[in-house]
Amino acid sequence: MSHITEIRYLTEFQNLNNINDAIASFEREHPDVRVIVEQATDHYEALQAFNSDEAPDIIESGGWSLFNRPGMFVNLLPYVNEVPGLREDLNPGIMRIACKDGTLPGLPVDVSVPLILYDKEKFDRAGLPYPTEGWTWDDMMALGEKLTIRNERGVASQFGLGIGVDIEFFEPFIMRNGGRLIAPDGTARGSVDQPAAIEAFRKVTEAYRVHQIIRKPEEPSEAGELHEGFAMIFSFTWFTGGCLDHGLGDRFGVVGLPNMPGGQLANMIYMGAAGITSKSRNPRLAWEFLNHYNLRRPDAFRSARTLPITRSLAEQSGMAEHPIWSRYIQELDHVQISGFYINEKWNASRQLINEEINRMILEGADVAQTLRSWTRFA
């Protein structure tokens, strides 16, 4: 009987169907290998596992902060370069964010970008044309006002736009206005306090306070869930995939984020990664598994909620041709690195910042002054 080699795979995700499928097919191809899956509640437990005497070979994390830690993961680019054509096949937009200082600490997973899903039925009912590429922020506000339906008490049964209060969701509008929250060198001073960021943020707060097309925090509502009473939805692939899974694909159309006065084509991107730890005793075998898991299984994206990281996976899975998914994949060309990838203090301050956004929305706190004060978070 041949010796069995174990690859220990630590994941922060709870749905294991994809990894289980990958393990089953990988172990069929490699009968002398066993892939053992373990779970970690969060980045902290994953880091603890890495620091222990029994570090896993691979860590799959739902965020990027572990992959910013020097020395924790091996550089995957040498492995990537060994596979003919793979370097060119990897989506350049994703790789622009994932590679830092010429290294690739993990293969991106759980990749998602936001676009605007619009409910065609609601537009038809209001006799409004669907939004098209190149539309502007002002177009979105005007449509949103027409699509927000309130009763005599002012309670909305339908909102023009659905978007959560989160600095990370508003960052794309700043990018599209030619601004940034955090400069590439990690500083906020000279970025978040500049006119492009302030102007974009002022527009965001006006969408709540002036146009009143977005549900304010804690605002009474009769609009139901996001897929029910919202005409336009700032929608990441997870939500869009959920709608498609529930057979709502025909009801929705998709369009890019509206243009801002700054005129930049830009968007944010969320992703985690699966990386080979520097403590792995079998990094090559671990790479073989990662390659199999992430790069050779187009079926995993046939009913997906996230985006594939190579062009060939997008094509083989049918996503590149899909009326909605193809638009998401196209958006990857324009993704930029968000502040939370660059500066951990900014990332850790996310909810303190969100509290201040709530104050701007609910209390009318001065936008310029508030954004200038955010330099303290980075």
């Binding site: 294991l16 169907n17 779970q39 902290y44 060198d185 990690g186 104050r359 303290r376």
Partner: protein, 611 residues
């Protein structure tokens, strides 16, 4: 609102005359008073312009006003711990500005605006070589001089002299700095920028800034200057290196609770001579009745998801104590329990910001509640009690749930804990709201008032249990991807995780902890309900509720025996999962019955009150 928290976004009491800005200032001042330097930085940002305006009006000289602002902010930073009423921050700051302005207008003189380094050369020579163009060296020297002067003077309290000289030194020293040097100092200590950020801002090398800060920190530590850099003055403390260890009372296994927050608070109070039954604390705090399950899988993080600051302060406040908290999160390391920690300010991993807090309370004879992220396995993190420190060893003594004899943690480990959460008791609240010394506790007098109090407490506890059981989302983190199900619905979520199949299997490790913890809490719910001071039908129904909780606890204990709390990554079989789900269904049925009994208990209790 009472001690209970049924909604994470609980309303702040509205005060009609308080503006949003006032409220924000008050909250920031309160945080700053408790040692949160980030909050102080925000206060500076918020009020710098106003302070400058005051100073300009007082002096009529914009340049002098700049110096006064600098003076005033330094003094405010050093003394914020003495601010008793955080809603009076602005008037307090105004007084400081006024005093600084008067002093400066009176003083005048050649060094009115800027004093050269050479002017600080001490008249006496101590033989040490000092680099007068090196701020670090100067600071080190002057601090050492202050210590020496304090030690030499037997008649003047050492601490007083030390602090006086130290303040003067730092104060004066800042006036010797160039704008850039002053900016670096302020950026690091006030705004908590990283050396990279400071270097970038001042167009110098990171190495220079880093070396400067690192060496300063080391030397500051060695000279006990840390208490003055952003922390509250230590009353009665000595400036000498020292150690102290408090004796902890016996804490038998039957007193311990698996909710370590409550367990350690019980021990903390017992150490002050104020003993409470653990069941009472579990009931009063509501933890006997809570259940919270992650919506992701059977991860155990739901156990810890609640508003830590509010819960600790409200529980101890309810028991008659004033508390002080120190909390924060580090940004350079992943934090556990993000949903609970998400709104903690980002702090730096510097010992100067934590150890004086511990030293102060241990010196006063009070232990310090501490959230330990280095707890022994199978735990990941739990609350512990710090009961000693040793400056020479640079370490604290603290409890560990798995080590009956306690353990030692280096100061450095305390400072680098990614979650900073410490709480200490300042003293007992008097009827007029003022606080007194922490120990010894005032014995609770039995009598009509005490009985009435206990009855009110019990009614509130039961109302909490009922409300909580029906509130599906009692705690909602702002972090959107984290969600938890609470109350009776938590059982359903838990069962759903167990029946998720191989593609979404339950997390075995978390499952073990959930079972152990909630079996224990239901046992305490049963204990607590047996002690409530009701009569007649209300008491009979409370006892029936107690029995139902007992049975829920037994079903959960059976679950716990089937999946013991150990560090395990094993995958459970479908049969095991189903057996666990069946036990949970039993527990849920009993708990639902308990809630029905509690609803009737309250009904009869109210009726009895009316008679």
């Amino acid at each position: 609102m009472g001690v209970y928290e049924t909604n994470g976004a609980a309303a702040i009491p509205s005060e009609s005359r308080e503006t949003a800005e006032d409220r924000r200032s008050r909250v920031l001042a309160e945080r700053a008073r408790q040692g949160d330097t980030e909050a102080f930085g925000e206060l500076i940002e918020q009020h710098r312009h106003r302070v400058k305006g005051w100073a300009e009006r007082m002096t009529g000289d914009p340049h002098m006003a700049d110096d006064i602002v600098q003076d005033a902010l330094i003094r405010a930073f050093l003394h914020i711990g003495t601010l008793h009423d955080s809603s009076r921050f602005l008037s307090w700051l105004h007084r400081i500005v006024q005093n600084q302005a008067y002093m400066r207008l009176r003083r005048g003189g050649p060094y009115r605006k800027e004093k050269p380094f050479a002017a600080f050369r001490p008249s006496e020579t101590d033989g040490a070589h000092i680099e007068w163009n090196d701020l670090d060296d100067v600071l080190f020297h002057l601090t050492r001089s202050a210590s020496k002067a304090a030690a030499d003077d037997e008649h003047d309290p050492a601490e007083h002299l030390m602090r006086k000289e130290l303040y003067e030194t730092i104060h004066a020293l800042l006036h010797c700095l160039s704008n850039k040097e002053r900016g670096i100092f302020e950026a690091y200590f006030f705004r908590q920028l990283s050396p990279d950020e400071i270097a970038s801002m001042y167009r110098t090398t990171t190495g220079t800034v880093y070396t400067y800060i690192h060496r300063s920190r080391r030397k500051l530590r060695s000279e006990q200057i840390r208490a003055s850099l952003g922390l509250q003055p230590e009353k009665g403390g000595s400036t000498l290196v020292k150690s102290k260890r408090l004796e902890l009372p016996a804490w038998p296994p039957h007193a311990s609770a698996s909710i370590t927050l409550i367990d350690r608070i019980g021990l903390m109070l017992a150490a002050l001579g104020d003993e409470h039954e653990t069941a009472e604390l579990m009931g009063l705090s509501g933890f006997a009745f809570r259940m919270q399950i992650s919506d992701r899988t059977t991860f155990a993080d739901g156990i810890y998801m609640f508003d830590w600051r509010k819960t600790v302060q409200q529980l101890l406040g309810r028991l008659g104590y004033e508390t002080t908290l120190l909390c924060g999160q580090l940004s350079d390391s992943p934090v556990p329990l993000l949903g609970a920690v998400e709104r903690f300010p980002v702090v730096l991993p510097i010992e100067e910001a934590v150890i004086p807090f511990i030293r102060k309370y241990i010196d006063q004879g009070a232990t310090v509640l501490y959230f330990d992220t280095t707890v022994s396995r199978p735990y990941v993190h739990e609350w512990s009690l710090i009961y000693g420190y040793d400056d020479e060893e640079q370490a604290v003594r603290l409890t560990d749930v798995m080590k009956p004899g306690g353990k030692t943690l280096a100061y450095e480990d305390i400072a680098s804990n990614p979650v900073r959460f410490l709480a200490a008791i300042d003293g007992r609240r008097n009827m007029d709201g003022a606080s007194g010394p922490a120990s010894p506790a005032i014995p609770r007098k039995p009598g009509a008032a005490a009985v009435r109090r206990r009855r009110i407490d019990a009614e509130q506890a039961i109302r909490f249990a009922i409300d909580y059981s029906k509130n599906r989302w009692a705690y909602c983190p702002m972090t959107t991807y984290l969600s938890y199900t609470t109350g009776l619905a938590a059982y359903e979520r838990w069962i759903e995780h167990l029946r998720g199949g191989p593609d979404k299997p339950p997390n075995r490790y978390g499952l073990g902890q959930l079972a152990a913890v909630y079996a224990n809490t239901r046992t305490y719910a049963a204990h607590y309900l047996r002690t409530v001071p009701f009569e007649g039908e209300a008491m009979r129904l409370a006892l029936l509720a107690s029995e139902a909780y007992e049975q829920a606890g037994e079903a959960l204990a059976e679950l716990s025996a089937a999946v013991p709390f150990v560090r395990a990554a094993s995958v459970m079989t479908a049969e095991q999962c189903e057996a666990c789900a069946t036990l949970l269904e039993q527990a849920r049925t009993f708990e639902a019955a308990a809630i029905e009994y509690l609803e009737k208990t309250i009904h009869y209790a109210e009726k009895e009150q009316l008679l």
